[in-house]
């Protein structure tokens, strides 16, 4: 009686969870491609796509991916043998336990003799498999120091839940013959945790049992030309396929930046955690937005996350889509005025031309606006007292002090290809390179740091190479930009 009540309760929660989560793939949307993709358009599009694939040559691809990547998890194996072993032990052992032990009343006796199942040498064997798997998981998460591998509450819950199920199972088997009293207590623990696991499954990362195969299969047959409605649905589903295994962050080209900046959103695995939560609520405070903006823009688009993701998630396209949504909102993103923007420039044809320049202009404005004097060309500048504090703060490196050698020969401005690009450069750049260097000499911070010239510098080092006085012009520009970016991030806090 008790067993049945708990079983049906767990099954009900599981069923509702399943419906809630799967409907979420069609209800929630993500990124800039979200416009006009309603549920009523997405469900038929998904069905149409599914049928089209099943009745095409792509069926072969699906079968191959199912065997290689879903059953044998070749993608995990290629990445990390220990993790593959861990996952196979848990997955194979649990599958076996599920079919021969959990469903022992359902399995027809023609397949397995019931007595055989009760005696069950397999029970011991598969139990050992799962426990060794869990031991590896614990070792990997808590003992082995994998750089930048984050373990969140969900990862812990799942490991604890599995461990309780397994240990109580063993205790149950061993007390069966020795102590009925203990047996009964442990039976409750075992049954309750099993059903808790079942009920919790759709809401936890264990849901990847269904979604990761779905993602692997979907990505094997979908490409850029797939129906945008289906791409949207897939991207939402992909969030459920993420197991927070940390492979993307391990391979990420810029993950090292996290060590010095400390923003977790730089790590792709943590951005996925953020996005899972974000799509359901869509609201985010200013601080959170600034963190995700920086995290998602600090990316060289090297594709390593996508190439290595064991769940086959197309992270490249997901980032591109979400990045655009994030940078169009709230604060400006200083990182936009750096070579991190190269990829966006390369892909600009895929973006809305009416929106494309907005975040760039915003970043430019926020970085130069605090330095008002640049725009007051009629103002007379008092030369004394110079801003000593600024002059000293600009002495970041041994090379910056060279500004004082400048005798205004204007060589730097003459050889500058940016200056050379304009008929009337001051109109577009505010100050020319030699003027910026002179402003430093005078200690006029607003002029040294407020001109667009700094941010339009190609960093080609022509100025520095051609300076007869050895002024490290380009290096000085780098440091001024560093200072301006720091001030902008301070003022946005």
């Amino acid at each position: 009686m008790f067993y049945n009540i708990v079983l049906y309760a767990a099954l009900t929660v599981f069923g509702i969870g399943l419906i809630y989560k799967i409907s979420g793939w069609f209800r929630f949307s993500i990124g800039i491609h979200a416009k006009n993709k309603t549920i009523s358009a997405r469900i038929p599009a998904a069905l149409k796509g599914l049928i089209a694939v099943i009745f095409s040559q792509k069926l072969g691809t699906l079968i191959r991916v199912f065997i290689m990547d879903v059953l044998f998890q070749i993608r995990v194996l290629k990445n990390d043998k220990l993790r593959w072993l861990m996952h196979m032990l848990i997955y194979a052992g649990f599958m076996f336990l599920f079919f021969t032990h959990a469903l022992d009343r359902v399995i027809p006796t023609s397949l397995f003799d019931r007595y055989y199942l009760k005696l069950n040498p397999f029970l011991l064997f598969s139990g050992c498999l799962v426990i060794s798997g869990i031991a590896i998981a614990v070792y990997r998460r808590f003992i082995l120091k994998v750089p930048r591998l984050k373990t969140n509450a969900m990862d812990q819950y799942v490991i604890i839940l599995l461990a309780i199920i397994m240990l109580s199972g063993i205790a149950l088997e061993s007390t069966k013959l020795t102590s009925y009293n203990h047996y009964q207590k442990i039976w409750y623990i075992h049954i309750l945790t099993c059903f808790l696991g079942l009920a919790y499954l759709p809401f936890s990362k264990m849901f990847h049992l269904f979604t990761t195969p779905a993602s692997l299969l979907a990505n094997s047959v979908m490409d850029k030309n797939s129906d945008p409605a289906n791409i949207m649905t897939r991207q939402v589903m992909e969030l459920d396929s993420c197991t927070h295994c940390g492979t993307c962050s391990f391979h990420c080209s810029v993950a090292v930046a996290f060590d010095s900046i400390g923003n977790e959103n730089i790590l792709p695995s943590e951005r996925m955690t953020f996005l899972k939560d974000y799509i359901t609520r869509k609201n985010i405070n200013a601080q959170g937005l600034a963190a995700i903006q920086q995290g998602i823009y600090l990316c060289t688009n090297c594709d390593r996350c996508t190439i290595n993701c064991p769940a086959g998630i197309n992270l490249r396209d997901l980032w591109f889509n979400v990045r655009e949504e994030m940078i169009q909102r709230g604060h400006s993103v200083s990182l936009m005025l750096t070579p991190f923007s190269f990829y966006r420039g390369l892909k600009q044809q895929e973006l809305d031309p009416a929106q494309y320049d907005n975040p760039l202009h915003k970043a430019e404005k926020d970085l130069t606006d605090p330095f008002e004097l640049v725009n007051k060309t009629e103002e007379i500048i008092s030369l004394t007292p110079a801003n000593r504090e600024f002059k000293e703060s600009a002495d970041l490196s041994t090379r910056t002090g060279t500004y004082s050698y400048c005798f205004t020969c204007e060589n730097c401005s003459t050889v500058c290809p940016v200056v050379g690009n304009y008929e009337n450069p001051q109109e577009y750049l505010d100050l020319l390179p030699h003027q910026i260097i002179r402003s430093m000499g005078f200690g006029v911070k607003d002029l040294a740091m407020g001109s667009r010239m700094l941010w339009y510098c190609l960093t080609c080092y022509q100025c520095q190479e051609h300076c007869p006085q050895g002024v490290k012009v380009t290096d000085i520009f780098y440091e001024l930009k560093n200072l301006a970016a720091k001030e902008a991030s301070r003022s946005s806090e």
């Binding site: 810029v254 688009n301 420039g345």
Partner: protein, 289 residues
């Protein structure tokens, strides 16, 4: 001769012809390259806004090469310049070095400054030598005019990169000449390709590119020749964008140097990734004798 190969972020996904052709050429020359999947971003893109993070990112790569006990061979000129710059700053500044090493210690790494950073072209020029290169060629180009594009971050700041004479470099021209091709003089040879501002200020970035293309064309070049993925993308993908948008009414396709060298060494076009370009370079092989 053995190097740790540093590919950077762009080459493996967007400029694969550079990797293919460089590997093919290095293989023929008997230079061994050791892979290191742990190499990550060189730090260049973050220099504008966060110097400390830039140095950390570069130092981590340098420390990894040191751990392998190898000098680094870099294909990208922006990566090269950035790694050289960071190594310079680390050597100059013990307090930065200490701070960075503190952060690297978490991964069991330490920067000591024992590995050298070399660009691919420098290895060909200094470690192999023009004479030896010529001996390895089996075919020669004839009647082809190549406009060499030196690439800013290798050439300058010359006191740090030590690549070649910054005002009158010859290294790249001599390498091109070794294939039988004619390396032409053109006024904007040493100028920037425009790539650092793509996505930041497109009209300025493309304006710089446009002037170079027109100048190269006027000097009679058949092809631009580069040894950097950013320059190649700018002169290939971005030039095509400019042509499509009618911002440019002529085009000057670009190749990466190991493609030119590889063809002269008798390597087939497919192994050099000749089909992986956006602009048409099909005439290239017809210049072979």
């Amino acid at each position: 001769m053995k190097f740790a190969l540093f590919l950077g972020c762009n080459i493996p996904v967007r400029v694969q012809q550079y990797e293919l052709s460089a590997r093919a050429v290095l293989d023929k020359l008997g230079i061994e390259v050791v892979e290191n999947s742990e190499f990550k971003c060189c730090g260049n893109p973050i220099r504008n806004t966060d110097n400390k993070t830039f140095i950390l990112m570069a130092a981590r790569n340098l420390a990894l090469a040191e751990k392998q006990g190898l000098d680094m061979m870099v294909l990208c000129k922006c990566c090269f310049g950035s790694l050289k710059k960071a190594a310079h700053l680390l050597k100059q500044n013990p307090s930065i070095q200490k701070e960075v090493n503190g952060m690297l210690a978490g991964e069991g790494l330490q920067y000591k400054g024992t590995s050298e950073v070399k660009h691919f072209l420098s290895v060909l020029y200094h470690d192999i030598g023009i004479h030896a290169l010529k001996e390895k060629t089996t075919r020669s180009f004839k009647g082809i005019k190549i406009a060499t594009h030196y690439g800013c971050h290798a050439l300058r700041p010359s006191d740090i990169t030590g690549f070649d004479n910054p005002v009158a470099p010859v290294l790249f021209d001599e390498l091109v000449s070794a294939t039988g091709a004619q390396s032409i003089d053109w006024p904007l040879k040493l100028e920037c390709c425009g790539a650092p501002l793509l996505g930041v200020h497109d009209s300025l970035s493309m304006g710089v590119t446009e002037r170079k293309i027109i100048d190269g064309k006027q000097a009679g070049a058949d092809y631009l020749c580069v040894a950097c993925p950013y320059c190649q993308m700018q002169f290939d993908t971005v030039q095509q964008m400019m042509v499509s948008a009618q911002k440019l009414n002529q085009s000057l396709p670009s190749i990466v140097f190991p493609q030119l060298l590889g063809l002269a060494m008798g390597i087939d076009g497919n192994s050099l990734g000749l089909s992986r370009h956006v602009l048409d370079i099909s005439r290239l092989e017809s210049f072979l004798e």
